[in-house]
Each structure stands twice: as structure tokens, then as C-alpha cells.
Symmetry: C2
DNA sequence: TATTGTTATACTCTATAACTATA
DNA sequence: TATAGTTATAGAGTATAACAATA
């Protein structure tokens, strides 16, 4: 049948060009994990960025707002509303630093600690599901390769 | 010196919790590659999404707009303005499909073909730079591991 | 009825520039 | 003069719902 040169509607879409690029696969895999995060941790009212901030503050109690953003590659200007959101929800305590009155020292509240623990558990379950096709060794290798190209 | 419990300003920020998660590393690596893409291909007026569409159309001349979006996980509604942009810039030709008059058949214009070639070359250079710390075998392994967790 | 593309809309993430208060 | 945080704003990616034309 002539289809006037149109692409075969029943055919498989080719991705030859994109397939050879690492950036393309990173983009797809990352977006898949982001979707999994939304499904599993979203019901706790958490987004990836917000949870990232919580964990950094968990690991570094009293950290300055700017330093927390720096660790996560979030710009100062964008940290403001994100931290506000966490403070408003009672997950983070923000007080003026005693060593530099320009700065804020961030710490988790008890509610914040609880939410971090709940989130971690859900992320673990989610990642185990998404990575089920990889052996533990392959999974380690993936993390190792990725951390070597992060910067 | 007492700092009232504040985080040591000169200390290294810990990322213990995040570090164990694949999703976190994917997010960082992907964002690094996206920045590299912007730097190298951005001057051609290309963004990752737009270039993705061009390559899919290149690989599948006459493909329906919706099928192209599907291959890239772009929703129908969001394809409209993206394809408009490419058509307005003379990179893609959009004509009513001869086999289904509801659909558009997409194809690259000569200018689109040229831009794809230019873009591919720049992406190659960029990826070689970002992946310089990996051996060819490790690079292949990374792509292989990533494609196994994409879907 | 189902599907293709469209419009309208909203939320989030990211980026820049100009401002304030403290250092 | 430089730094920490703020405000305002704009661009881009992504998501949903309702609609018209066609199958």
C-alpha cells in the first residue's frame, strides 16, 4: 500500500542518533527516577529538591543556608523560597547564626527528622524496584561511574 | 572557639545520605550534561528537547507528531509549541499525513539536516570532554547500565 | 467512540539583576 | 569592598483538562 511517503504507522520508532549519546540516556534514566521519586515520596509532600535540602541539613546540623545550596548546586536566590517552604511546614528550624549575623543556621526539627527517615525508606524501596534488573555489583559500578563524571 | 552549635563554616559539607542513592547521582550527572549541551549546542539555538525531536524526525522521516513525542516521552500537548518552533525556524516540514488526515507527518528540511549534523558534532566533542575520565570500555558500560534502567 | 492535534493553564525548576544588612 | 540572604522577574520543562476535526 502506498502511504505517500509517510512513516510506517505500525513500525518501531528508531532512535539511532540519540542512542549513542550518554547525555540522552542520563536524561531518560534521571527522569525515570524523578517520576519514581514523585510516586513514592510525593505523597509525603516532598519533591526531590526539598528532600535534598533536608538530607544535607540532617548531615550538617547548623549549616548555613548558602552552604547547603552550594552542596546541592542550588543558587542562593532559589534557596529562599525552598527553605521558607520547609520552615513553614515545621521541618526545618532557621535561626540567625551566632558566628555571623548575616547568615542563617539551619537544623532539622523533630518532625523533619521523622520525615527524612520516612522518605529514605520510600526511596530505598523505589530504587530497589527501578534497579531490579541490575546485580548489586552492577549497581555499585553504576554509582561509581556516575560519581566520576559529576565534576 | 564556641560557635553556638553552628556548622563549622570551614568544614566540608557532608552528603552521606544522598550519596548512597542512584537517583541523586543520576540527577547530578544529567544536569552536568545538560549544562554542557547548553554551552556547546546552545549557540546553534538548540535545546535538548528540540534537538531530540530533530534527531527522531531525522531517523524516521514522515513520522507523526504524536509518535515522535511518544518516542521521547513528550506529551502531545507539549509537542505543539516545540514543533511550531522548529517549523517557524525552517528546520522541520509539517504536512498533513496522506494516510490519516488528523495527523501531521514531520520531515527535516535541508536546513534541519545541516543543523543536526552540526549539533551531533558539537555533542560528540562535549561528551568526550565530560567523559574524559572514563575509558572507552567504561563509557560503553555506563551506556549499557543506563539503558537497562530506562524502561 | 477513540484518536490527533490544539488551546489554556498551572506548577516547578532554574537563571539573572538589583537590593539590605552585616562583615 | 565583599558576603549572606532577599526580592522580582523571566524562561523553560512538564502536567492536566476540555475542545475540534477526523477515524
Amino acid at each position: 500500500m502506498s502511504n505517500g511517503g509517510d512513516h510506517d504507522a505500525g513500525g518501531v520508532t528508531q532512535l539511532t542518533l540519540l542512542d549513542s549519546f550518554v547525555g540522552y540516556h542520563l536524561r531518560r534514566a534521571s527522569s525515570r527516577f524523578a517520576a519514581g521519586f514523585s510516586e513514592s515520596v510525593g505523597p509525603l509532600g516532598m519533591r526531590q529538591v526539598l528532600f535534598g535540602i533536608l538530607t544535607v541539613v540532617h548531615d550538617n546540623p547548623g549549616i548555613r543556608q548558602g552552604a547547603a545550596g552550594e552542596a546541592l548546586s542550588i543558587q542562593r536566590a532559589n534557596m529562599v523560597s525552598l527553605v521558607n517552604e520547609l520552615v513553614d511546614r515545621g521541618l526545618i528550624e532557621r535561626r540567625v547564626s551566632e558566628v555571623d549575623r548575616r547568615a542563617f543556621a539551619l537544623a532539622l526539627t523533630p518532625a523533619g527528622e521523622v520525615l527524612v527517615e520516612q522518605g529514605l525508606e520510600r526511596i530505598r524501596v523505589n530504587e530497589d524496584a527501578l534497579l531490579r534488573t541490575l546485580s548489586p555489583a552492577e549497581r555499585e559500578q553504576l554509582v561509581s561511574l556516575l560519581s566520576r563524571i559529576e565534576g
